[in-house]
């Protein structure tokens, strides 16, 4: 077998070897059972004392969400102003300017919501202060927010009937101290030893062979890159993200980073099963997700290895596959592997340019983000899956002749209403965003804006449409990767994607937590032979079908006009 394929198989195997025990650990840790990191307790106690928080105070789902939303608003306000005034604040050795209001609006939302769309470039648009105390800080807390909310859902199903969803502050702080921080230290050390900079010095310069002076941005990047992957954030230190040689120097760091971004989402699924004492349910969900990932990954790898038919027509050999936009040190297989995982999981970091991938690869990347729950982001992946699960439970419950129930709680009109609204939200945000931008591009190309709509697209036509569709899909999925080639650093894109990101983040968190809270309050119905079991292969297939059919139905026309039209035109 070729080494490129072996490389990704090894990556996936190592991912599972780490993620599965990690899942068991998370279940124990969140349940408050003994773990070997208990020595950190005094630090947590200190933090709680400082904040005047009673970490064991139970919260119902409304109190829980209130706490979550309050702290998130605080970060939004804080970050917005610091970004605008970053030029006047310390730790700015390269003398970068402050962000404009619309860029700051977009940037702060994108970091608070764990999206990291990055309409700025790290080298020029941020300072060491903002990189550190906003971006890196938000990398931790946004991941921990998602995880805490997922655990609230777990808690709802651990006991038979309860109103206690756990204490937000407790779950939130523990996610950082007991998981994100220790893991980040390990990953950043690996990166540092492989050449990723971690100094506070400003730009370095060297004189190239041609005699030009080249300035090289650097800074304390390794720390941020570690949590950017572990927390499925994806916001890189450098503009080129993990395709940048300093952000991702070699194949080992490439493996480290891709493994780092998968372990927590997978571990959360396993943890769900262990936490609610229904291990099998965790495994079935993991199975469905994994099948979904492979169904997206295998065609991606094959279309990248196949090369571009237009280049083939020119008689150029493409033995190594489609190399445009890829780093030679990684090759097409590892890049395709990464591009699938970074889109199914909401990381959005890239080690190659998605804009340059084959048209069909673009289709799989878009679909991965539209589904957004095959593993998915830290915590939020399970939450997104939970919505599909509720819909699947409802339809299949009817199909077996009983009022639908999930883990002993009846799923009734109120829960279905919330799940239906959340299902509706993604197509609404993605399609209306793309429709609005298409409309302005066509109807008002020369409108008097700083950046004229007619100059938005580097490649008008089907690919240009994919670029716009991708931007909104990525924003809604809180993914943050981009089909670059789109002129997105202007007020239209900053504001519209900002709105999409914030709605696409918080509503799909509020929805599942509310459903879980409502279900948990209901009387527990013991299982009988007539009860539909949700931890079976059959139900897994049902959920999978619901996910695929719902997404296919929502996006088929848009996908036909973008990647499909591009692909088939290329074949003609």
């Amino acid at each position: 077998m070729n080494t490129e394929l072996l490389g990704i198989i090894a990556s996936f195997a190592i991912t599972l070897l780490i993620a599965i025990p990690l899942g068991r650990y998370l279940a124990k840790m969140y349940a408050g059972e003994k773990t070997w990191l208990d020595f950190l307790k005094p630090i947590e106690t200190g933090l709680f004392k400082l904040g005047g928080i009673k970490p064991n105070e139970p919260m119902n789902w409304k109190q829980f969400l209130k706490a979550m939303i309050t702290i998130n608003i605080l970060w939004l306000v804080y970050g917005f102003f610091v970004l605008i005034y970053q030029d006047k604040l310390p730790l700015n050795p390269d003398g970068n300017a402050g962000q404009t209001a619309d860029t700051a609006f977009n940037t702060i939302i994108s970091f608070v919501v764990n999206c990291n769309l990055q309409h700025y470039s790290g080298e020029t648009g941020a300072t060491y202060l903002t990189q550190h105390f906003i971006f890196m800080f938000l990398h931790f807390v946004s991941a921990a927010t998602g995880m805490a909310c997922a655990v609230a859902v777990f808690k709802a199903f651990r006991d038979k009937t309860t109103t206690d969803m756990g204490n937000f502050w407790n779950l939130f702080v523990k996610s950082i101290t007991r998981l994100l921080l220790p893991l980040s230290i390990v990953v950043s050390l690996i990166l540092t030893f492989n050449g990723t900079p971690s100094s506070y010095a400003g730009k370095d310069k060297f004189i190239s062979l041609q005699g030009d002076t080249v300035n090289v941005s650097r800074g304390p990047a390794a720390q941020m890159i570690a949590i950017k992957h572990l927390g499925t954030n994806g916001g890189g230190w450098f503009g080129a993200n993990s395709a940048h040689p300093l952000e991702n120097p070699n194949y080992l760091t490439n493996m480290t980073e891709i493994i780092a971004q998968c372990i927590i989402p997978i571990a959360m699924v396993i943890a769900f099963g262990y936490f609610i004492r229904r291990k099998k349910l965790g495994w079935v969900i993991f199975g469905v997700m994994t099948v979904g990932v492979f169904m997206l990954m295998i065609p991606t790898i094959s279309s990248e290895l196949g090369g571009n038919p237009l280049i083939a027509k020119m008689g150029v050999s493409q033995l190594t596959g489609a190399m445009e936009g890829k780093e030679v040190r990684f090759g097409p297989t590892a890049t395709a592997y990464w591009s699938t995982l970074t889109t199914v999981i909401s990381t959005g970091s890239v080690n190659g340019m998605h804009d340059s991938t084959m048209a069909l690869t673009g289709l799989w990347q878009l679909l991965a983000m539209m589904i957004n729950s095959f593993y998915g982001g830290c915590g939020v992946g399970v939450l997104n899956y939970f919505i599909y699960l509720i819909i699947a439970v409802f339809i299949s419950g009817l199909m077996v002749g009983r009022t639908p129930e999930f883990l002993g709680h009846k799923v009734e009109a109120r829960e279905v209403k919330i799940a239906a609204l959340i299902t509706l939200l993604s197509p609404f945000l993605i399609m209306s965003g793309a429709a609005l931008s298409s409309y302005i591009f066509m109807a008002h190309p020369n409108i008097d804006w700083a950046v004229k709509p007619s100059t938005w697209l580097n490649n008008p036509g089907y690919h240009g449409f994919s670029e716009m569709l991708y931007e909104y899909t990525s924003s809604n999925a809180n993914n943050g990767s981009g089909f670059e080639g789109l002129g997105d650093g202007n007020i239209f894109w900053n504001v519209t994607t900002g709105i999409v990101m914030i709605l696409g983040r918080f509503l799909p968190i509020i929805g599942p937590v509310a459903i879980a809270g409502l279900l948990a309050q209901k009387k527990y119905i013991p299982e009988s032979a007539g009860t539909l079991k949700t931890d079976t292969l059959t139900f897994g297939v049902m959920t999978f079908a619901v996910i695929i059919v719902l997404n296919a139905l929502s996006y088929f026309p848009a996908l036909a006009l973008g990647p499909l039209a591009e692909h088939f035109s290329m074949l003609k």
């Binding site: 032979a529 139905l553 088939f568």
Partner: protein, 675 residues
Amino acid sequence: MKNQSNKLFESAQVQTALKESFIKLDPRKMIRNPVMFTVEIGTLVMLVVSIYSFSHRDQGSFAYNVAIFAILLLTVLFANFAEAIAEARGKAQADSLRKTREETPAKVLLQDGTVVMKSSSELRKGDVFTCETGDTIPTDGEIIKGIATIDESAITGESAPVIREAGGDKSSVTGGTKVLSDEINVLVTTQPGESFLDKMIALVEGASRQKTPNEIALTILLASFTLIFVIVCVTLQPFANYANTPITIAALISLFVCLIPTTIGGLLSAIGIAGMDRALRANVITKSGKAVETAGDIDVLLLDKTGTITIGNRKATHFWPALDILPDDLITACVLSSLADETPEGKSIVELAASHFALPVAPAGSESVKFTAETRSSGINTPDGLRVRKGAFDSIRNIALKAGNPFPEEVEDRVKVIASNGGTPLVVSQNEKILGVIELQDIIKTGISERFERLRKMGVKTVMVTGDNPLTAKFIAEKAGVDDYIAEAKPEDKMNYIKAEQNIGKLVAMMGDGTNDAPALAQADVGVAMNSGTQAAKEAGNMVDLDNDPTKLIEIVEIGKQLLITRGTLTTFSIANDVAKYFAIVPALFMASIPALQSINIMHLHSPESAILSAVIFNAIIIPMLIPLALRGVEYKPIGASALLRRNLLIYGVGGVIAPFIGIKLIDLAVAFML
């Protein structure tokens, strides 16, 4: 009632339904069904477009637009027809019941004892009327004086007369039934128009039909699917402009109507009505659609032993002679002592003996000894000096011992064996000498344990309620295959059992007839009162069984499950259909300007117009094609939830993906041929 037609479509009903389909086009009525309401709006838009295209060319040909308009209108009409035919069937069913109670003269008894003739429709709650032999009872009520045999065949179809009397648990009479003997005074208990039957008719007719909880939840889900497709279709316009592909209004609306779940949307209310109708066909009157739905969720079923699990009374099953007694002697003695015995037990002894040999005849001048609570035995004294007694073990033993005769050990052992097997031993003596034992046993209905097995597979636990002692109860419970039993049951035991089960989250169903049962009937999630039961019981329950058949609960549970399954499977089918419709319409929309997208026209449909027409036609005709399924209901099989899901997913999910590919292709061939 019993001889109702099982045909799905009666021509009279079809005619009413056809008329109703048009009346239901009224938007105020349509809005109750959001999915079909949006189709109606689409139809109106197409009407405008059709008129416009008569003089303009940019929206496609006039004929094409009119065709689309006509098909959309048909889609709405088909959905209305489905609902109307379900209503018509339910109404016909209810009408046949109501016919029995049309204008009947009533002899109203005034306070002062005088009798005034009134029409049944003039009777008010609180009135008292009197009925004697040959009278038809004018309305529902409760006997307050007297006892009568009544022919209830008009309601139950059962020709054997029943006895109804004041004071007991069988004090209720139903309007339309006939008094065969004696005279009774009846208190009217309901206002005209408020009897259970009237309520049921109102439910079926839709006036007071409220959506059940599951129906509401499903409607929400379907509405949100509809909204998703609104988004898809609205955004398609700017997308198409970007791709320089003009889309006609007809194409856009067709796409929309094809995508929204019209199949289930059109059939949803028909399914609900059909559920109540099926209950009515089983001679069960439900007070709400919710009750039928809840029946499908039942976890625990409380059943009375007598009449449900066992056939009425105990029967003789065996003669056990003492060692030194010939069997024939014992049997002869038994028969002699039982010939004059009118109790069911006595009759069963004679019956059993008859299967052994020709029955002896009691000598003339014999004197029968009646059973009394004191002697606890009965028997016969013949003129030739034979004294035969049969009775409880200790009373007969006393007779023997007093006369100085021993009580044989093997007989005593047999008595114990019978008792421990749940039977009743009757010891027989002749001239104070012990002859042997008659074994009386409860006879478990044939096929009942299979039904319990079926219930177990559905996940329903069966509980037998009996007044027997725990030992007997246990034996019968095991033999019949029930999961649990309540022995020596008092009315409050039922209540407590129900509450305990409900406390751990289970839904309980029970059947009852007496006033004693009323609290438990009210407490149970599904309480089925027997029609013969007291007014209190009927008020407390949420269903009334006209047949007074205790096994009816099992049927009711299946009807409830069937109702939910039909909704679930048709939803799945409807959504699965969309995949094929996309492959028909999306290439049709873009083929002209993006020839490359011809590659997704995997059905190779003839032209964009024929593709769109075929998809809309398929979408319309699938509704009437599925009406029979909606009315009959999808079959329920107790094979376990996961297996059932697999089965239905395969038939309605996978089938729902494949069927429209074939259907649309076939229609396209026909349409292409005509164009």
